[in-house]
Every structure is written in C-alpha cells, then in structure tokens.
Symmetry: C2
C-alpha cells in the first residue's frame, strides 16, 4: 500500500478536494482560494494533468485567456483510494501483523 505522492502534496490535495466537489474550477478561483503563486499553481495543475487526474481546458473569455480544470474519473478514483490508504495508516492496519 503506497501513498500516492501526486495527491499527498498538501496544495494538490486541496486542489483535488475542491475539484471533486464542482463541475469545474478556473485558474483565478483556485489562485484566490489556495493562496499560491501563479507559477506554483500552474506546476501543480500540470502534475495532476500528467497523472491523468484532471483535464485542463484553455479557452478565451472575450480576449482574455481563460483556463479551467475538471477532475477526471481516474482522479476521483485515485482520491478515494488515497483517503482509504490514509485511513489504513491512521488505524495502523497498513503495518504487517506481528
């Protein structure tokens, strides 16, 4: 049983918890909610996309670029598994029996 390090990183964990509760969230919303720098937020989103956990949608809002994010089925599954694994750690049931 391995803790998924893509999700375990605190900022990414918060991002995943936000995305699992909404249809989609845009860059500025996440920026304001999480208090990260633009660069850090971008890097976290790229990492989540590389893992197949989220989809990045780039479009325009008038002339302004507009980026939004959706959690994917794979991401929802990984998030559920993550919390299950963490519950095992919490209960000590991930350790070999003596």
């Amino acid at each position: 049983m391995e803790i998924d390090k893509v999700i375990h990183e605190p900022a990414r964990l918060r991002i995943m918890m936000i995305l699992q509760g909404v249809e989609e969230a845009d860059f500025n919303f996440l920026l304001n909610t999480l208090g990260l720098t633009r660069g850090n937020l971008s890097r976290h989103m790229d990492k989540l996309e590389s893992a197949g956990y989220i989809k990045i949608k780039k479009s325009f809002n008038g002339k302004l670029p507009y980026t939004s994010y959706q959690i994917m089925k794979k991401g929802l599954g990984a998030l559920e598994q993550y919390w299950q694994n963490l519950d095992q750690v919490r209960k000590g049931s991930d350790l070999p029996a003596e």
Copy 2:
C-alpha cells in the same frame, strides 16, 4: 492551517503512528516493519528528533550498539494536530467560505 511537513512525509507518518502506540521502538524493529533502507530510516529519525517530536536513545546490547526511539509530548501533540488538520482538508472546511 498548515499541514506539518515533518509528519506528512509517508514514512515519517508511519513512524509516528508506530511510536505513539508503544513505550519505545528500536531501529531494527522499525527497519523490518517499514521496509526502508538503514540510511533512509536514520535520516527520517534525525528529522523527527530535530523537530523535537522523538527522543533517540543510544546504548549497547552487549557489544552491539542499540538505538531506540520514544515519541515526545511535543510529537504526540503535533500528530494529533496533524490529523485534525487533515480532517479539515477532507471536509473542505480549511477553505475560505464563499
């Protein structure tokens, strides 16, 4: 509310969960239980000691060096706070209200 990165690292989280349940644990027990390398385990224990979360006791078992570890009151408090903070993340209640 910040996630304590000393505790959040998966191996150290497991170590803390083990230590909170016992009077003390020795190096070889942790090594066998966690499946880490000796060097990695040492580094994690040093980090936990630097944070004031554990105490390292070095002695001899006959002629063999014997190292054991105890969780400190500060470590128990930090561990409890860690899980509380993680529960907040899980419930989404660490995020600013809309």
